[in-house]
Structures are given as C-alpha cells and as structure tokens.
C-alpha cells in the first residue's frame, strides 16, 4: 500500500514537473519562431527604418515597412485606456472593498465577473453599433471610428482585472491600520486615502499593470472600432491603427516569404517584448508587496 502511494506520488510529481517544463518550452518555441521569421525583415529594411519609419505601405513597390504609426496608434489607444480605466478601476475597487453595503458589494462583484466573461468580439460589436455612432453624434466627428472608441473598449476590458486585483490588495491591508486611523479620529475617507491606500499600493500598481498587459495585446474589439488608418495620430478623435489590428488584418493577405510577411512577424515580436516587459514589471510590484 505504502509502495503504491510512493509510486503514485512519484508519477504525479513528474507529471506536474513535465507540464511546468512544457509551458516553458512552448513559450521558448513561440519566441524562437517569432524571432526567426521576424528578423528576416531586416534583410530588406533596417531596424531604424522599421521602428522609426513613418509610412506603412506594405504592398507598394518597393514596400515601405515603417511601423512608427502603428506603435504610436497602439500607444495612444492604450494610454487613453489607462487614463480611463485606472482611476475608475481603483475607485470601484475601494468602493467595493471598503464602502459599499454588503448587498451592493456582492452585486457589483458579480457584475465585474460578468464583464470579464464577455468575449471581446461581442464587446467590439456593441462598440460598433452603440459607441461609435454615439461618439460621432455627441462630438460632431466625421466618423466615430477613432482612437477614443478603442480606448473606451480597452478600458472596459482592463477594468475587471484592475478592480478584482486591487480589491484583493485593499482587503489584504491589515485591519489594524484602519482601526488605528479611525481611533485617532480620522474620518472614513481620510483613513482610506491616507492609510489604506499606502498599504495597498504595490498591489494596486500591479493590478493596473496586469490590466494594461491584458489589453495591450487585445485585437478584435480594437480593430472593429478604431478605423484602422495607418497614419501617425495627432489626437484621440481620429482613426488609428494598432500593432495587433495590423497583424490580424493583413496576415491573411501577405504572401508567405515576402518582406510584408516577415514584417508582420517582426510586429509580433515587438508586441511580445512590450507585454513581456509590462508583465515583468507587474510581477516585481506584486512580489514587493508580498515580501513586506
């Protein structure tokens, strides 16, 4: 009997080990593949022209493969999303964790879960049919397909992550801090904004970064509402094209082995590096929060 258990434990241990290794191998393989296909673009276009080029005309002859407009498009849409989602998400997290009456708290938490479960295509669909016309009319724009529409979509997608992880961080703040502040005669609001927020800060920053990391690679909804014009954006109220939308829209048409094809892989590489950096930073903050 004891032997059987030992064997079973041995097998399970090895299986878990194998799945851990497998995930590392998969990531490595994906990265190597991206790298191999992506660097081929630099045979025809220099790194400087690729990252800093102002024009993305992949099918002109010779093709112009500058992704600066795409990088800026992604940055603009993401920055807009951050500005919208981070304050809203943190505020909502504080409300749910520390202010809302029990019933409303449960209701809101379910709402956040539902929001997280909506597929991005569906959100994008709602964006096209409701948000885009709304923006066009209220702001008097020639088209509602704008960076702003993309930012709003992404903000919706980042919110569940930001809210639930921030809320965990706030709840993890020792109750003694709150009692200490209230016992000094601080109001509930002062306690929240001057004490609890300090205890929760590493977690809140990590939540924001993970929320952003979750949406920076987001494609569908953004492609549906941003208009996809590959020009260097100057305002949130004009159409833009993101890195992800470019890959999704053009991968089907690019001839295999053409500079265009390799350029799309290189775009993927750039995206990969960006999300990797964001996740890494978020991890650093989460771990720093845990150590204390």
């Amino acid at each position: 009997m004891a032997r059987f258990r030992k064997v079973k434990e041995f097998v399970i241990e090895k299986l878990i080990f194998a799945s851990g290794i497998a995930s590392i191998i998969f990531v490595a393989l994906i990265f190597i593949f991206l790298l191999r296909e992506g660097v081929s673009v630099f045979k025809t276009t220099s790194i400087g022209d690729f990252l800093g080029g102002r024009f993305w005309y992949p099918i002109s002859d010779p093709p112009k493969l500058g992704i600066l407009p795409l990088i800026l498009g992604s940055l603009l849409v993401t920055a807009g999303a951050i500005v919208l989602a981070v304050p809203l998400g943190i505020g909502a997290a504080f409300y749910i964790a520390d202010v809302a009456p029990v019933k409303i708290r449960h209701l809101l938490k379910s709402c956040v879960e539902v929001l997280a479960a909506i597929p991005s295509v569906v959100l994008g669909f709602l964006g096209i049919t409701l948000l885009v016309p709304f923006l066009k009319h209220t702001l008097g724009l020639p088209t509602g397909l704008t960076a702003l529409a993309g930012s709003i979509m992404l903000a919706f997608m980042a919110l569940p992550t930001i809210i639930s992880i921030s809320e965990d961080a706030i709840n993890a703040v020792p109750r003694e801090y709150k009692e200490g502040a209230l016992a000094l005669g601080a109001t509930h609001w002062q306690t929240l904004t001057r004490v609890i927020i300090h205890g929760a800060m590493p977690g809140i920053i990590a939540a924001s970064m993970l929320g952003i990391g979750r949406v920076i690679g987001e494609t569908m909804a953004v492609m549906m509402v941003t208009g996809n014009a590959a020009v260097i954006p100057t305002s949130l109220l004009q159409p833009v094209r993101t890195l992800t939308a470019t890959i999704a829209a053009e991968m089907g048409e690019a001839a295999k082995g053409s500079p265009h094809y390799f350029a799309l892989f290189a775009v993927g590489l750039v995206l990969f590096l960006i999300s990797f950096l964001i996740n890494l930073t978020a991890d650093l903050f989460l771990n720093r929060g845990k150590k204390r």
């Binding site: 020792p174 003694e176 801090y177 009692e179 200490g180 502040a181 209230l182 016992a183 000094l184 005669g185 601080a186 109001t187 002062q190 001057r194 004490v195 300090h198 205890g199 204390r292």
Partner: protein
C-alpha cells in the same frame, strides 16, 4: 480628584449576546485605572465603548450612558471624530501605519488640522520626546515605522496620541506583545504620562495592574464585579469572586 469619565448602567449586546451587563464606574482624571478579569469577560468591549470603537461593528446595541467631562458621548453622532481625538486608543498589537516615523506622528495633526506645515516638525519632536523615543529615532524619521522594534512601535503609537493632544489614553493590553523588559519600560512611561493624561488600561496581568494603577476594576462574564482603589482590591477584596481570581483560583 474629579471624574473624567462616568459610566452608568452600560449594557452592550453583540447580536443576541449580552456582553456588558449594567456596568458602572467612574474613571479619575490624571490617574491610571486598570481593568482585569479572565479572557472574554468584556474588558476590551468596555474599553471600546469609551471611544465608541464598537460603532464599527455591525449588529451592536448599546444602552446606558458614558459621560466624558459631563457630556454623554452617545448623544448625537456628530462629534465622533472629536471624541476619538480626545479619547485615544493604544491597541494590543502595535499598529503603526505603513508610513514613515514622521508621517505616523503627523497623521493625527493633519487630519484634525491642528498644525501649519512649519509647526509639524515641533509637534513630531515633542511627541517623540514625550514617549522617550526622540533620541533613538531623531535620525530615522524618514524610515518606515514598520521597521521599528515592537516596543518602539508601541511607543510610537502612544506618541501619535500625544500629537493630537488626547486627554484620555485607552490601552488594551498594550504590553502583551512585548518582552518583560519592554513591558517594564512601557509601564514606566505610563507613570510619567499620568501627570498629564487620564489612562485606562486593560490587562490580564495582575501584577501589572498592581504595579501601575491607582484604581482597579475586576470583570467577570460581562459584569463589573468590584471596583476600587488598587491596594484594596488586591489586599481586601470584598467579593468572593474577586478574591478567587487574584489568588489565582481561576482565570
């Protein structure tokens, strides 16, 4: 000697559980009053009634009166922050905020708008001096308070109350997390502080009550069994149950 706090026929229920039963006592100004009794008898509950910390708990019902300087603190809710400024609390586990030493002290004066920015340095210095921490910490004011020793943390928590000019210090087993040396030092500090502050201390350490307090109350199962001068309680208890407790027959 006048009474700083007068408690009369105080009853408290946690839901259906009757946790304080007809408690009445008066706390002398600028003296140390201790509350002793076995664990779970309601000492903390009584203490938390004096600055209305029980208001934070759902489903609590309180009857009776608590008068501070003659004013019933349970009449009206508007002065809650002012009450807690006047009646400060030191907790069992030292609970400095996750801020610097300086900001821990400055927190109270800031939320009560007691000081202009240029006066804050003085307040911090004076408050730390009052708890004999200044010499140890004057070069570490910007360090996180979470890095202090337990004893330093507890002193810092007392200094926070000094900074808002609390008049009453409620201490709920303030030494139970400390070693014997640190305990003696905190007791010494309490003797210093009683010249300026009214102190109520909860302790399950009878020697501590005997060492520091002028008056002692003995509680059992939610009732205040006996209350009087500390030497009387410890040498001539009137109630059989008090005698059993202090001679160590239970608890």
């Amino acid at each position: 000697m006048s009474a700083k706090i007068e408690v009369e026929r105080l009853n408290l229920w946690y839901g259906a559980f009757h946790a304080l039963i007809d408690v009445g006592l008066s706390v002398r100004e600028k003296a140390i009053t201790s509350l002793i009794g076995p664990s779970g008898c309601g000492k903390s509950t009584l203490l938390r009634c004096l600055n209305r910390m029980n208001d934070l708990i759902d489903d609590v019902r309180i009857e009776g009166s608590v008068r501070l300087d003659g004013q019933d603190i349970y009449a009206g809710t508007s002065a809650l922050t002012a009450l807690r400024k006047k009646v400060g609390m030191v907790f069992q586990r030292p609970n400095p905020f996750p801020l610097s030493v300086y900001e821990n002290i400055a927190f109270g004066p800031k939320v009560h708008h007691l000081a202009k920015a240029d006066e804050m340095d003085h307040i911090v210095e004076d408050s730390l001096k009052a708890v004999h921490l200044w010499d140890e910490l004057k070069d570490r004011l910007d360090e996180s308070a979470l890095r202090l020793s337990l004893e330093q943390k507890q002193r810092l928590c007392i200094a926070r109350l000094v900074a808002v000019k609390s008049e009453v210090l409620l201490m709920d087993e303030p030494c139970s997390a400390l070693d014997p040396m640190a305990t003696l030092k905190i007791e010494e500090l309490m003797r210093h502080l009683k010249d300026d502050y009214t102190i109520v201390i909860v302790t399950h350490n009878m020697q501590q009550a005997a060492r520091v307090s002028e008056e002692t109350g003995f509680m059992l199962l939610g009732e205040l069994i006996e209350f009087g001068r500390t030497p009387d309680i410890f040498t001539r208890p009137q109630d059989k149950r008090t005698e059993d407790y202090i001679t160590g027959r239970f608890g």
